[in-house]
Symmetry: C2
Subunit: 386 residues, 2 copies
Amino acid sequence: MREMVIVGAAETKFGRSESSYRELAVEAGRKAMEDAGVDPGRIESLVLGSFSPGTFVKQEHVAPLVASELGLDHVPSTRTENACASGATAVMGGLMQIGAGMHDVVLVVGVEKMTATPTGEATSILAEAADWESESKAGLTFPGVYALMARAYMHRYGKDRSILDAVAVKAHGNGAGNPYAQFQKPITVEDVRGSLMIADPLTLYDCSPISDGAAAIVLASKDVAGEFKRSGIPFLGWGQASDALALHERDEITALPAAQRAGKRAYDMAGVGPQDVSFAEVHDCFTIAEIIATEDLGFFEPGTGGDAAVSGRTGRDGPIPINPSGGLKAKGHPVGASGVGQIVESVFQLRGEAEGRQVDGVEYALTHNVGGSGATCVVTILGKGE
Amino acid sequence: MREMVIVGAAETKFGRSESSYRELAVEAGRKAMEDAGVDPGRIESLVLGSFSPGTFVKQEHVAPLVASELGLDHVPSTRTENACASGATAVMGGLMQIGAGMHDVVLVVGVEKMTATPTGEATSILAEAADWESESKAGLTFPGVYALMARAYMHRYGKDRSILDAVAVKAHGNGAGNPYAQFQKPITVEDVRGSLMIADPLTLYDCSPISDGAAAIVLASKDVAGEFKRSGIPFLGWGQASDALALHERDEITALPAAQRAGKRAYDMAGVGPQDVSFAEVHDCFTIAEIIATEDLGFFEPGTGGDAAVSGRTGRDGPIPINPSGGLKAKGHPVGASGVGQIVESVFQLRGEAEGRQVDGVEYALTHNVGGSGATCVVTILGKGE
């Protein structure tokens, strides 16, 4: 396949925004094109990742809407949806278009506008990413799904909630250094434990927030990378895998088999292993999800990811920093934007431009974007470029 | 790019179904794999086209759901959404994955379950494919949008509604020969004119129905086409283009510029012209849409597509049969399935297996799938194969 690079990257601040869905998408898309030094006329295709604009803002068919608002006259535009992995799935779509030789320069935008919807209703909308017939219809929303996973994990490995506390405190500490983060204030273990119980054992600070936001990258074939202002950040490997939507249909719930498979494919393609990864942006929709992710991706043995967080090994100065951006937990989780935002953060880190949260000596970045409770997973590995 | 062929094709009957969303998708997907003589284990990826399952059946994240129900264990699965062109957009996604060399065999499914939703509510959901801020919020639903286009067309070219009558009568006549069609009964001009006025000048028989249904194809690289039971139907060309969602943002509304551009790309890629096309399945969501489509695709000069329908030139025995399947109008319009269904019908015709509606001497088939009032258009051209 042709080699592919990221020549532009940008995002809006995540959080509660006054901007509309289309304004968020346009802000990120325009800034990514500016970052690349590229005119809208050079963009050959738009792929847009978004979860549920039909329910959140009563607007489907968002790809051509955003394309026309961005002045991308008449290029093919396509939306992808894979729940909370809609963003990384859109990136996969862009990679395929360039890989096939169909296009040379593709804009990928991830976006969601969620805070205009009351929180309870938003939680119901999010539950549509679980299996309606066996989960959501019975009242099982995502905090409950991940609480089941947390309970199973803690039981299986004999852990208490201190492993969750460690992840939450680290996330908010990192978010404090990220100007794009929804939450930019450090918290303590007492804050986590004292916060509202959402779904036992998960408290409010174990859960990622409802957010607005957008993120965008300009993807290009390496053949044309010389046209752009910024040197390209190479896509070294990627993997996507699926699983059943419903927890009860899986063999185990203390790991995400789809993440393991997607990770293996990405590592194999990139020719690197977990030991080579400088830092990772993983899908910590809940604190337990980050712990499981670090095990699925091979950074730690099963049952030891929580201890690693407690001992500071996943801190920004640790051997394998996890979510230096603050992650979904503190940076925020505007669903369709999250996976693209992980890649944008990785580009900033690989360029050495992640002010306030820069990881030292970055060579390889890994992103891990999950849909539902693990029915979709996309892993990408980026390198430093020239 | 690698050459690509369709090695399996199938669809459910369109119409009001007792089957659920997932049952419809599984039926079409399974039948397409059976048609190809392929085991689920050989499928490397699923792309699923669906418009708004989140609102129609409270289920997003449908791609891995359908993948797991079909026994496609763990393959990457992705949903695409581009309003009523969601189906053909999914086909584009599959083509890119094979074109990039990422996969050799991809299952594409289009599906929608609409009839469990009350008609008024379904019309509101469909209106989310128009521009919410400038159209749908003000009460403009799609019958209204296309009525504006019909009025503009009739005024500009000095036509009366007999051109619409001709399209409706032909559609239902063709549907009568199609066992997959929602409506299998011929109608008369009097039926059309006597039916309920929906949005002047469009009566009930000018409008495609609310439908359930699914359609699926197995796409393969030509390199591996020998593995399958059926000889492959080649994809000779395709084109996708976009436009602004809102009618008032376009230069004209008596043609669809996106359809013209998508058609030109497809013709150029296939190396054929309108004169070579044996028949076309076009997006007749309303009778006026078929007339405009036949002009946008170069079969007739602007302003003459309606006359061509009246004079029988688009009939099954005419020089350029349009919608021998009955089209969206009579075959039905389960949104996400429609674009895939056009391709399935084309495969049946190219194989000479379109019993009851077979067009004579088919060499090239063209499909034309539109999202919204023309903000997305995908055109494909298929050949006869070996």
